[in-house]
Amino acid sequence: MRPTATPPLSIWRSPRPSLRWVPVFRRNLLVWRKLMLPSLIGNIAEPLITLVAFGFGLGALVGQVQLANGQAVSYLVFLASGSICMSAMNAASFEALYSAFSRMQVQRTWDSIMNAPIDLDDVVMAEMLWASFKSLFATVVILGVMLALSISHSPYVLLALPLLALNGMVFASIALIFNALAKGYDFFTYYFTLYLTPTTFLSGVFFPREQLPPLLHTLSQWLPLTAAVELMRPLFLGQWPAQAAQHLLVLLSYGATSFYLALALTRKRFRA
């Protein structure tokens, strides 16, 4: 008989790939189908109101905006292509913070799931993919409204879908890091006010990044939302994005690093 059990596994171990996240994802999907209407209104109405208010209102004052490559575009198109990335970010963040925290801490849903043959890793994976899916769904509806408003006619806009999905995964993963560290809902206010809101203003959603002071401009170049916006905007204009590989790499690096960190910190939180 062995005198001791195996030592505890490191929180930094690599995740084991499996499909056990599927039933957890389906659980969230089933809840969402019941609450879809209020949830969609929250995710869609606000971005569309912003778009109409700023795009048509401010757009009438601003007229055209000059991009870094010298091209002039209408403010409405400029804002639409940026704000859809912002909407994806916000929807994914909200889901992976407030809703995931409710399931993890308040409702003990994660605990009951882990009474079944499902790992914590599978639950975290499911939450990440779920938040991205929810964000994608909301932004697809917004995109549909934008197309109906004839904001873009480019077939390149189809490429917005995988880009929005990736963007959702990146911000869901970052949010799950803060979910793993949270003691209560109040903690998420810091994340929104100290990170997401400044990020929005630094990433060229509302105005070109060229307006920023040099230091902030350089800094903003490496923000994940900047990468998403820089990729998205040309698609709306029917162009292939400049430095597409670099921006994609930035997004993928943020996504992979954040997910790994979120997983490790969640394992630490649950370790007993």
Partner: protein, 312 residues
Amino acid sequence: MPARPLFSVRQLSKRYGDQTVVDKLSFDIEPGQCMGLIGPNGAGKTTTVRMCLGLIHADEGQVEFHGSGATLHMPQDQLAIKARMGIVSQFDSLDPDFSCAENLLVFGRYFGLRDAQIQPRIPKLLEFSALSSKAHARISELSGGMKRRLSLARALVNQPDLLLLDEPTTGLDPQARHLMWERLQRLVQQGTSILLTTHFMDEAERLCDRLIVIDHGRKMCEGRPRELIASELEPEVLEVYGAGALALHDSPLRALASRTEISGETVFFYTRNAQPLLQALSGQTQLRTLRRPANLEDLFLKLTGRQIREES
């Protein structure tokens, strides 16, 4: 040679800092047996259950599951072991957004079951838990007893070999407890093995084939309930209370009992025969007496003491 146990725990220990929460605990659960783990708050019951599930990492010791196939070991076979178990945890963790039937369906999916496998089980499980009329009710519409029964039904959705029940009737009213007990007895009769933690002695006595009393993470004794009482205690107890009762503790009457205890305003005399004591006390009309056979609660209090335990 005895049959192979279904589940065995060997020398299981857990420490948090300097505090040893579970201390070299060993026990077996035989197939079809209901094993009770009893102890005061903070004795290590829930920690033991969570180690059995691999949700808490054991510092030492082994947890093994001997199903129909090869022996499974915690923690490396954790998922395979959990696939054969049903768990009712101390706190309800039902999905508030779902109806009763949906709770069962969604939980069945976690076991990798197909909807076509789960759907036929749902009406049977609801009937078993006396919730057929509540199939489409939301969780918030259920009483405490109904929630616990639904938790039990949910734990049965994968048709487990072993049920782990962590204080399944805590917080229930007597009617709800009796219905829960009746259902658990039915499961035992059908051959389901159960590991039950409780601090209700009537529950342990009623349901469990075997008992382990633990305190401070250590096993105090193990055996069949009636045999434990017979071996550890005098057969009769006389409780005396009322004005002047406490003085009896130091009176010559004490010689008529093999052991005495004081709790609050009551003196407990443990004895082979309470009749001589009763006769001696018959003149003292200000005293109230209660003569009764020794029970599991007496054993529990003898082993774990009468001092109040704070919730840990």
